[in-house]
């Protein structure tokens, strides 16, 4: 069955006729060519497909494209534009800059999803502990880094965005 979807992706109005069963992640990748959003597990576990739906991090392999009709989607390609220009670091979102600065990635497969979850956390927090950063990233799996550099990257971004991060001893063990 065909369904019409009117949506905004990274601020751009989009209208498409799609199959009802098309998942949001394939809509983004195959229809719109936004391949920054990855498919890892395809079973709602790994978080590689995380995008924002109306500003909230969701797993796009577990949302129908038809369900974003009249809603707003943000992918990693549009992440930098979610913060004011003054907060960007050489054009990047502070979270992107943090991953660069703190070596938050190795193969990079998990990175777009990690960044979308982390950036949503920071957009909705005033203060955080390292433990809270870890818990927020629970739904994002990384096979390479061992996570510490990712937590450091998010803490780096937090500082740039005026979110205070308490150091707690247990989290870094």
């Amino acid at each position: 069955m065909g369904v019409t979807v009117h949506t905004r992706v990274n601020g751009q109005p989009i209208e498409r006729e799609i199959e009802a069963r098309q998942l949001l992640v394939y809509f983004l990748r195959d229809e719109l060519g936004l391949t920054g959003t990855h498919v890892g597990c395809d079973t709602s576990q790994c978080g590689a497909c995380t995008v924002w739906l109306d500003g909230r991090a969701v797993k796009s392999c577990t949302v129908l494209a038809a369900q974003v009709d009249e809603h707003e989607v943000t992918t990693v390609e549009g992440l930098a534009e979610t913060v004011p220009e003054a907060q960007r670091i050489e054009g990047l979102h502070p979270v992107q800059a943090g991953f660069w600065e703190k070596h938050g990635l190795q193969c990079g497969f998990c990175t777009p999803g990690m960044m979308m979850t982390a950036a949503e956390l920071l957009a909705n927090s005033e203060r955080l502990s390292q433990q809270e950063i870890r818990e927020a990233l629970e739904g994002n799996i990384c096979r390479c880094t061992g996570y510490q550099d990712i937590v450091d990257a998010v803490a780096f971004a937090a500082e740039k965005m005026g979110v205070s991060v308490e150091r707690d001893v247990t989290a870094s063990i």
Binding site: M1, R21, T43, S44, T50, A57, A66, D69, L121, E138
Partner: protein, 288 residues
Amino acid sequence: MIPAAFDYYRAKSIQEAFFAKQQAGADAKWIAGGHSLLPMMKLRLATPPALIDINEIDGLSGIRLQADGLVIGALTHHAEIAHSEEVVRTWPLLAQAAGLIGDRQVRNRGTIGGNLAHADPASDLPAVALALEATLVAEGPSGRREIPASEFFVGPMTTALSDDELLTQVRFPVPSGKVGSFYCKYPHPASGYAVVGVAAVAQLGPDGKFQAVRVGVTGVGMWAYRAETTEKELVGKLPTQENIASAAQHAVDETDVSQDLFASEQYRTHLAALYTVKALQAAVQAIQ
């Protein structure tokens, strides 16, 4: 993985949803957050011929503290419940349980209505709804009815809702007297679902003894239940470690204990008693 083809209807009102359901037939399914249904459809464990999307229906989302209780719309996301000040103030264990579901992204998309209607044997919220004696409000083409949580979960992934009924809201009575509550979960290390989850509500009388005890258990059997023997054994007794531990030995009396690759029947039975003790002790502590 791609679900089998289906027809899709986007309902903008409850009436539209009922109409679409009537057209699409008994096997059509409502879709809310899709976080239980879509994974099953992708694995082709479910192949509904049609989905009726209820997300755009106005008035089915939100949290209100009213005289008759804490009312939560069926489409309210887990994340909103976990962070709601009204919920934290009224029933902290509900916020706690919602905050322990899956992960951040799952909580942003999954809904309380979907969680209860799906009635997964390892879901967290059924245990809480039971312990809080929630009322589930359902609407269907023939009208509205209220179902007590104790009559809602009737079998494995089976509820008292009929095919054409929508769960519209969940109402939790507000606590009165010296009441404490706690939700304790042993999560499956891979899936995050409850291997065992225990929701406990304890009320002490002026004499310091248990006046009321309610224990909702999930993950242990094929559907969530109240550990009534444990509850009855505690009423009228002092909340001592000994009394609680002895009553918790009956935590699985009301169910057939499941077993799977992760937890044997014996291990689950052990965990159920242990988590009943933990949840009850924490509930008592939360009173002071």
